[in-house]
């Protein structure tokens, strides 16, 4: 009897499911007709023949630092323009997002607009002619122009024959110290490597991890690596020219790798660098008072507790032995994120205006200001009110004032596979499974291919 009931229910569900499946239809970015579907705005559209649908994908979804600042404005934009355009918002968290976009690229189903990284991440897409050259957009719009952005901002998205993306997010790291902990043990902030060793000894004796730095898939280690690397002579030129020289295994890189190995031997990092790897766990150790210092980026500010923001002080990275450049004069600074446009969609006359409008929105001052509140440094030049910003953000801006900006391997690595090898090999270096020389060889081998 029960089986019969289950059978009937299942068959009914099957039939209903088939109907709903057909109704929700497919949406390959259809050109003219609006296909009513349950999207986030949940509107019932009067099918006007001029309304277009565009797909916008991003990793600024629920759970991401920027979501709470992005979504209200997005909703407002969608609402205001609902007669002309229906915007399908597709969000995923970063790792899943990368998989998704890659799958869509391979299956020929790229979104119309999507947020994406530059440098080695767009090389393949540009070679295949998938991305729009942004000059085409700038000629069509009157709301923004290239001059509104920081002069170097477009570098991340510029390849040999053009610029293929819009920078939205610049960034600077912060090397922060827990003032309360330092005071408790009567220590002052270390300026040299010798001082760092002494300070670390005291912290270790008292069960505190000196620096919350670890490596899981190269995070956050690759940025710390670059920061240390910049202390050596000629480091900046190496990075800037890496696109042409394809030379990673330089003396400076070796010195940096050796410095890190020494730091590990001195017990400056947590013992388990894999379990504590990635932005979250590292920052958490620091915020919980288990580590005295850490190195992190503004996209983590949203996750910093108020207490942590209070007791944190931005300090220069200690100067390594043999370093020529004074770390208190520079800080890593680069464009880290932005948006790209599907060239085919832009060249579709039906979608073009809608896309231009939407990009206007993405690069608008309003949205930029809102995102800044999440702790982002805007690539666009906007005036923002410091009082609206988080305490830690203010400290960062003050600290970075007047400092020279240095590059990072993350954005200058010419090859995606080499960048991934850098990440994986850093993990190995941190658990001391390979020597600094082996580390350099591994990455260089990828570049030499």
């Amino acid at each position: 009897m029960r089986k019969k009931i289950i059978g009937i229910v299942c068959t009914a569900a099957l039939i209903m499911g088939l109907f709903s499946g057909c109704a929700s239809g497919s949406n390959n970015g259809g050109t003219k007709e609006a296909i009513s579907s349950t999207d986030m705005a949940g509107e019932d559209t009067a099918a006007s023949s001029e309304k277009v649908t565009i797909r916008f994908a991003t990793n600024w979804g629920p759970g991401d630092a920027k979501y709470d600042y992005f979504y209200p404005l997005f909703e407002k934009y969608a609402e205001e323009n609902k007669d002309k355009v229906e915007i399908k918002l597709e969000t995923l968290s970063t790792e899943d997002y990368k998989t998704k976009i890659r799958t869509e690229t391979a299956s020929g189903n790229l979104p119309d607009v999507f947020t994406w990284w530059g440098g080695s991440m767009i090389i393949d897409m540009v070679d295949a002619g998938l991305l729009l050259n942004v000059d085409d957009y700038f000629t069509m719009t009157d709301k923004t122009s290239k001059e509104n952005f920081d002069s170097s901002a477009f570098g991340y998205y510029t390849l040999t024959d053009g610029t293929y993306g819009f920078p939205l997010e610049s960034t600077r790291p912060v090397f922060i110290a827990n003032k309360a902990l330092f005071d408790e043990y009567g220590l002052s902030y270390p300026k040299t490597y010798e001082e760092l060793k002494e300070v670390s000894k005291v912290f270790n004796e008292n069960g505190i991890i000196p620096i919350a730095m670890a490596s899981k898939n190269g995070t956050p280690s690759e940025f710390f690596f670059s920061e240390l690397h910049s202390q050596f002579k000629g480091a900046e030129e190496e990075l800037v020219n890496m696109g042409t020289t394809r030379n990673f295994a330089t003396d400076n890189a070796l010195k940096t790798a050796e410095a890190i190995t020494d730091m590990i031997n001195q017990g400056m990092f947590p013992e388990d660098t894999v379990a504590n790897g990635d932005w979250g766990p590292c920052l958490q150790l620091y915020c919980d008072g288990k580590a005295a210092m850490t190195y992190t980026y503004p996209w983590m500010f949203e996750s910093m507790t108020d207490d942590a923001q209070e007791f944190s002080e931005c300090i220069p990275v200690p100067k390594l032995d043999g370093a020529t450049n004074d770390p208190s004069t520079f800080v890593s600074g680069f464009t880290v994120y932005g948006a790209v446009v599907n060239k085919a969609s832009f060249e579709d006359p039906a979608k073009q205006q809608a896309l231009v409008d939407f990009i206007d929105f993405l690069t608008s001052d309003d949205l930029t200001l809102a995102l800044t509140q999440s702790g982002m440094i805007p690539a666009k030049q906007v005036e923002y009110d410091m009082d609206d910003m988080k305490p830690i953000f203010k400290k960062m801006i003050e600290f970075c004032e007047g400092k020279e900006l240095t590059s990072v391997h993350y954005t200058t690595m010419p090859d995606l596979e080499a960048l991934n090898m850098l990440d994986a090999s850093l993990d190995e270096l941190f658990i001391q499974a390979i020597t600094p020389e082996e580390f350099l060889d591994k990455v260089q081998a990828e570049l030499d291919k």
């Binding site: 499946g21 949406n27 349950t38 990793n59 759970g63 391979a106 958490q284």
Partner: protein, 278 residues
């Protein structure tokens, strides 16, 4: 003499029970841990990973249900999985019966067992392209079909054993009694393989419920997401809000446990009714 034997029996029994209970504890503990963690905030988790929550954050469940649209994705998952399950069971039972009792063929059986060895990730791109051509992008139907396809091999694998175990006299008796093949299938065979169906249902449901990647590549719109996709989204870009995450996990575990308990009854009643006897 018999006294010693009794003592030996009793201690053996004791040891067996201790072992069973010990293993049960290790099986239970992760579930309990997820439950407790779902009621903590991040600091509590890091500082006090294994104790009871300092503050009970029931809010985590509300956040999970609301924010990541766990509610909607819950029902999406339920619909998709049940649909796929119903269709899967029907066609695999039909196929297994046919290839085990009507027209045995080693080649066909071997053909169907290939699927077990195929890792899902490598199918991702081809099926995205395939469903694109069928105009089924961002459509739940594509997920249903994909889930059915993925579970066919395992289901047939298990069902074949159960169908093969039925003595041939039953078929012959039924045919003599004038029952057509169809009738034999629905009235006699299916009831006899109930435990097999229950096992298949449980395994297949689990596979569908916990799947992440297939849903990821086939579905784009947030409201159409499955539950595991929503939970993955909740993992946030760089920070894991473990408390809310665990709340999502608990929500996603509950229906599976219920389904399992339901099917458990089926298995037991099927067995005690003397289903599979010579």
């Amino acid at each position: 003499m018999s006294n010693m034997y009794l003592v030996k029996q009793k201690t053996a029994k004791c040891i067996k029970y201790i072992f069973l209970i010990g293993f049960a504890l290790t099986s239970l503990y992760p579930f309990i841990w997820v439950l407790i963690t779902s009621l903590k905030d991040n600091n509590d988790i890091y500082g006090n990973g294994f104790g009871l929550p300092k503050v009970y954050k029931w809010n985590n469940y509300i956040e999970a249900w609301k924010n990541a649209q766990v509610g909607i994705s819950f029902f999406n998952s339920l619909t998709i999985c049940l649909l796929a399950l119903a269709a899967l069971i029907l066609i695999t039972c039909m196929g297994s019966y046919a290839m085990m009792r009507v027209r045995k063929s080693k080649i066909i059986t071997a053909y169907f067992s290939l699927g077990i060895m195929i890792p899902i990730h490598i199918l991702l791109i081809p099926i995205v392209i395939l469903f694109g051509k069928l105009h089924l992008t961002d459509n739940h139907l594509s997920l249903v079909i994909a889930y059915i396809a993925i579970n066919i091999s395992i289901s047939l694998f298990i069902l074949n054993g159960f169908f093969a175990a039925i003595p041939t006299e039953i078929d012959e008796a039924a045919i003599i009694d004038g029952c057509g093949r169809c009738g034999i299938f629905f009235k006699i065979m299916l009831p006899l393989v109930k435990p097999g169906i229950a096992t298949v249902a449980t395994l297949a449901f689990l596979n569908c419920w916990n799947d992440l990647v297939v849903g990821l590549v086939l579905i784009s719109t947030p409201v159409k997401r499955t539950l595991s996709m929503s939970i993955s989204v909740m993992k946030g870009a760089y920070v894991t809000q473990y408390g809310i995450l665990c709340a999502g996990f608990v929500i996603s575990i509950v229906p599976v446990v219920i389904m399992y308990l339901l099917f458990q009854k089926q298995i037991i009643s099927g067995m005690t009714a003397g289903a599979v006897k010579g």
